[in-house]
């Protein structure tokens, strides 16, 4: 499962993502897509976020069981503790 959270991005980008995802809450996208499609959508979101921010959370074969990526101006930053990812508030 993949979750994307977009902050302050254009309605165009959000609309485009709804081709792949459900948007149960404004800016929150959830879906089940392949790793390749996921990475392509991530690149697209980052390219078109302009002054906004993107966050992606997806299942991964690491210790935490998931991976978090962030790009642009997100309200919270992801901090790497020697491979363990926590959130700076």
């Amino acid at each position: 499962m993949v979750i994307m959270i977009l902050e302050r991005v254009t309605p165009g980008l959000r609309g485009e993502l709804t081709r792949w995802f459900l948007e149960p809450k404004a800016g929150v996208f959830v879906g089940r897509i392949s790793a390749m499609v996921r990475d392509k959508l991530w690149d697209k979101a980052c390219r078109r976020a302009r002054d906004g921010g993107c966050l992606m959370i997806h299942a991964s074969d690491n210790e935490q069981g998931f991976r978090i990526r962030s790009w642009g101006k997100t309200a919270r930053a992801i901090k790497d503790f020697e491979g363990l990812f926590l959130v700076r508030v």
Binding site: N62, E63, F81, E82, L84, V87, R88, V89
Partner: protein, 326 residues
């Protein structure tokens, strides 16, 4: 808010191995704990965490330790000099059934020997001949470890002149020896956390003896050739400025790759011959209710029900003796 029912805690095998922090302050934060430093605060999901390693420059509050202990997270103060100080709460079980089993195996000479053989057997691919003496097995183990060092040295190109470190001066040791110490520190921490979490005693060692962490050394030795020796040589070969950091990062990858958190407790149960049927329903009861009364030991009956007043002399089953709940 204290944890009443331990079943809300994630299993040890589902958790995260370690978190290392330095130069920060750890305090209670909105019913949980958070790391505070000049850049802001980072909340830590401590119920998930097996081991919190506190490096130089960390201060931690009483309230934060209380939360960590409540969630069965082992806290380790570790200095650059390899000096460690451990703190642990009660672990993630309130039942003593595993500890009592370990004590029984330890105290009986024949059973202890059997456990020692099982410990060594786990490290060798082929079946150990039952005719071998303990001295011969120790010799074979020495050869196995030396070969592992030699192979890691060949594969990484890092020269190996033997395990040597000066307890007085950390920076005197060569990089690969420093890397080994840092990697073993991580490994001891998670083995210790697993032992405490499953309700065993870190002190009742079978192969090792005499120290409060003897059993930790027994268990950690199962994984050194697989995990920490290769990790230390890889990190030493990378020649980074932050060797210890590199070691810990590689350790985490290796812990995930070898699924070590899932293996430690089952491995302990295998060597100690803990069978599933031995696990009493007491452990379920105590873990849900901290105040549930335990049994009383009796030389004839084994156990009698606790938490009530027993009348003097004998009584027949079913007879109303007028005792009441205390």
């Amino acid at each position: 808010m204290r944890i009443k029912d331990l079943h809300v805690l994630p299993k040890f095998s589902d958790g995260w191995s370690y978190l290392y922090v330095e130069h920060c302050r750890i305090d209670q934060e909105a019913q949980a704990i958070a790391i505070h430093d000049e850049t802001g605060k980072v909340p830590v999901p401590c119920a998930k965490l097996a081991l919190l390693m506190l490096g130089p420059g960390v201060s931690i509050t009483h309230a934060a330790i209380s939360v960590l202990a409540d969630h069965g997270c082992l806290v380790v103060w570790c200095g650059e000099e390899g000096v460690r100080f451990y703190a642990s709460g009660m672990g993630e079980t309130r039942s003593a059934v595993n500890f009592l089993h370990q004590a029984r195996m330890w105290a009986h000479e024949k059973l202890r020997m059997k456990v020692i053989r099982r410990f060594y057997q786990l490290r060798f691919a082929e079946e150990l001949d039952p005719e071998l003496t303990l001295r011969q097995i120790r010799g074979m183990e020495g050869v196995r470890v030396r070969e592992t060092y030699a192979r890691a040295s060949r594969e990484t190109g890092v020269p190996w002149t033997g395990r040597s470190y000066h307890r007085g001066n950390w920076s005197d040791a060569n990089p690969v020896n420093r890397a080994l110490s840092a990697a073993n520190s991580c490994l001891y921490g998670i083995c210790h956390a697993a032992i405490v979490s499953a309700g065993f005693s870190p002190a009742l060692g079978f192969i090792h003896t005499g120290k409060m962490l003897s059993f930790v050394y027994d268990v950690a030795d199962l994984y050194k050739t697989e995990v920490t020796i290769p990790v230390a040589f890889q990190a030493a070969a990378a020649e980074t400025d932050s060797l210890e950091r590199q070691v810990r990062m590689t350790c985490r990858d290796q812990f995930v790759a070898t699924r070590i958190l899932k293996r430690i407790i089952p491995d302990i149960k295998t060597v100690l011959m803990v069978h599933k049927k031995d696990v009493s329903c007491d452990s379920v009861l105590f873990d849900q209710d901290a105040a549930a009364p335990g049994a009383l030991w009796d030389p004839e009956e084994g156990e009698v029900e606790g938490g009530r007043i027993h009348p003097l002399g004998t009584y027949e089953a079913g007879e109303d003796c007028g005792y009441h709940d205390s």
